[in-house]
């Protein structure tokens, strides 16, 4: 952690003062520290007394009374579904999916919807401290454009199902469209393409295998919902005679480049398979609770050395993208389900939401901690608030007391994308107004169809 003063101060930023949660291998916390940034990278991290002089940098961000930490990594979401936030809650899974979500998707999802919906979701992500996200949806090229415009780092997974989809009415063209998506994906330092097969129950074995081959050919992540519900495990068992994980393993789908969301229903043998195949798990506790799917055995995954990141899932099943709130739930729900108040301690959860998530996305060399050489994805929280006073343990404060609203300033790839709660990279007012208008249209349409619920009013 030597200081390497910038010879050219033109693009150096000094994050100066406050508590630095490094998430480095030693889990170092620096109580009065600094972070020096040049261009898109962290140059040095250390004690304030060792910081470069003010006149050696172009910009200083005063972080006294603040907490400075790596940007949060959301390992699983469907950003554009922000438009369906609150459309259909408190319903059985089948009703939710078949009477609300699928019809709404088939009617409303188009490139403009996905771009605007991802912009809306992106604003919320930035406001709540997420800087890296693994997304999966239809028309994902539009989502990727929104992430680029907002300055967010993203793994952008094109959604694939073996039935007519909004962006692919003919599933026979799935492979061709997937290849085209990857080939035409923009070359930009913030975004990585991926292919997202929805699940083993909506994709045939051949589709899964061929899509995985395309991923292997391009060295890009393969994303899938895996063992999310008991019903899914039963269906896969009945169809293929195996657990979902064994089924995918038999198809050759599992390796260190496959990101599996949920993994709530594991058989004893499944853990060894996941370990051997270096599977990466995106854990979405709030979505799993809201849909009554269960609790994923995360403490066991960690015991097996299986990388686990945290995810919010989409806004139709959460209904927010606040990773700090997700951290609180993650810590608490495993204590409850394991009947052990000492399990999933705050530090473990903070690591899962940062470096753990980075490992799941294959970005651990670039993000997830504040260390020299890493990309400067940094969030700054205001500690000087009643609900964050006093502080005995910074990890506890983050997990059990803080929420996304405490994030005041966000840097992504060395650039300020939010400063003092004001988004720098987009016109928030216009994006919100457009989203509100589309929401009203969808609501009117749903009411016309007679799908009126209590509280759901014209």
């Amino acid at each position: 952690m030597e200081i390497t003063p910038s010879s050219d101060k033109s693009d150096a930023i000094l994050v100066k003062g406050g508590v630095i949660i490094t998430i480095n291998p030693a889990d170092q916390i620096i109580e009065d520290g600094y972070v020096l940034i040049k261009a898109d990278r962290i140059i040095s991290v250390g004690n304030l007394q060792d910081a470069p002089p003010d006149n050696a940098v172009e910009k200083i961000i005063d972080t006294r009374n603040c907490l400075v930490m790596p940007g949060l990594v959301n390992t699983h979401t469907h950003a554009a579904m922000a438009f369906f936030r609150g459309l259909a809650d408190d319903l059985p899974l089948k009703t939710w999916l078949e009477d609300y979500i699928f019809p709404a998707e088939s009617r409303y999802v188009n490139p403009a919807f996905v771009y605007q919906g991802t912009m809306l979701a992106g604003l919320e992500m930035i406001h709540s401290g997420t800087t890296s996200v693994c997304d999966g949806y239809f028309f994902e090229e539009a989502a990727a454009q929104a992430f680029i415009n907002l300055g967010l780092r993203a793994v952008a997974g094109k959604g694939i199902v073996d039935f007519p989809a909004p962006d692919n009415p003919d599933p026979g063209l799935n492979l061709e469209n997937a290849r085209k998506y990857v080939r035409e994906f923009p070359s930009h330092p913030l975004v990585t393409p991926a292919l997202f097969c929805h699940s083993a129950y909506t994709c045939r074995p051949e589709t899964l295998q061929h899509i995985k081959e395309i991923c292997n050919y391009h060295s890009i992540p393969f994303i899938i919902h895996l063992a999310e519900t008991e019903a899914e495990t039963k269906e896969i068992q009945a169809r293929y005679g195996n657990s979902p994980i064994q089924h995918l393993n038999n198809l050759g789908i599992l390796d260190g480049n496959t990101i599996a969301a949920h993994c709530g229903w594991m058989k004893p043998d499944d853990f060894r398979i996941a370990q051997q195949k270096r599977l990466r798990v995106a854990h979405c506790p709030e979505s799993n609770m809201k849909l009554a799917s269960g609790v994923a055995p995360v403490p066991l995954f960690l015991d097996f050395g299986i990388p686990v990141g945290l995810g919010t899932d989409g806004c139709a099943s959460n209904n927010n993208l606040d990773m700090l709130s997700e951290m609180d739930t993650a810590a608490k729900v495993h204590k409850l389900s394991n009947k052990d108040p000492a399990i999933m301690d705050a530090k473990t959860v903070v690591r899962m939401a940062t470096i753990g998530g980075a490992e799941v996305l294959g970005l651990q060399d670039r993000v997830g901690s504040l260390e020299p050489g890493k990309k400067a994805d940094i969030i700054i929280l205001d500690l000087n608030q009643p609900h964050l006073t006093p502080v005995y343990n910074y990890y506890s404060q983050l997990v059990y007391s803080a929420s996304g609203h405490d994030v005041i300033t966000v840097l992504s790839n060395g650039k300020l994308i939010m400063r003092n709660r004001k988004i720098v990279t987009a016109n928030e007012k216009e994006t919100l107004a457009a989203a509100g208008e589309l929401g009203k249209e969808i609501k009117k349409e749903m009411l016309r169809q007679g799908r009126k619920k209590s509280g759901f009013r014209a």
Copy 2:
């Protein structure tokens, strides 16, 4: 909901525009409404077109693009424990209580601690939309003073245990001190005294009975922790041969003026007893999860017609006082534990955090809904934010997407106590600074004693 124009406009306030969530018996939501206040009371609630003219009132609060609802009712907390926020987390219950909380209480809890701690907690409560609270702690007269100063409505329960307590080194003086507390309690419209016997395992049967007699004599609430953990039920069963609820029932403690926090471990017969005795339940799901105590059978309580309110518990076991976050957890944890995504729908949870809580505290004629004649305890949330856009269902938005930070303005008893996130009734900066200083002292002392945890740093 007729308009009753104020003949004297001198103290009339018009809350004008936005969505009014009334929580009246018809669960009416008015999409473009108003609330007229005079002195401490709501005069009328209705459609904006029927609102009195601007010149008929002294003050107008513009609530366009906002959600207007009753102030939240926190039915169980220990406010001054805000000073112990994050002091000891992720620990077995016994270690938490015996190595951290009890020693810290015996060393630090005095009237100044309780006053300052309750001020700190009160700031957080106001910031997150709580206007009524049921509190229980030592030196509770100091807490009551803080609630009065902040303008919060409170049931202030003096804590009683059968061992030396910070405010009562000689438990032999429990009854005398309890009587003195009630007798000398300030006569103020915002606060009600109560007596809070910690539990059936820390209070002898005679203590419970005598304290309940004092409560009956003064018609004030009796508060107790009841059936919180499996260990407690086993201990009470071993000592007295009954479940905790049966034990209290045998002692004549249970009636409609007893508020029981937790009630997580119920035997089948216990539900009938609770129903017959009109017991009131304070449900604290986040605390119960964090301490791995279990999930209270709230859907069953509701089926039995037992009043249930929501509570945060103290900051040593949550670690925040955000009722909106508690609502989210409540809705989700019961879906999980009942394997039913339709249970504990958003509207049920919003009612539990408002009128349900008011019933538990015996304040249902005064607060818990926006209806003519009720006290004007009103909170205003800013809807114009990414994470609250679009809106299909207001109850969903409140429970699953909103958090305490979305509350921008708070009225209590007809008075503005927070306006545009700025506390009106206290000097927030000084209160925070004082709390931060005391926190540092406690931390230093704990470190000296060698109770160092990871992240817990000098």
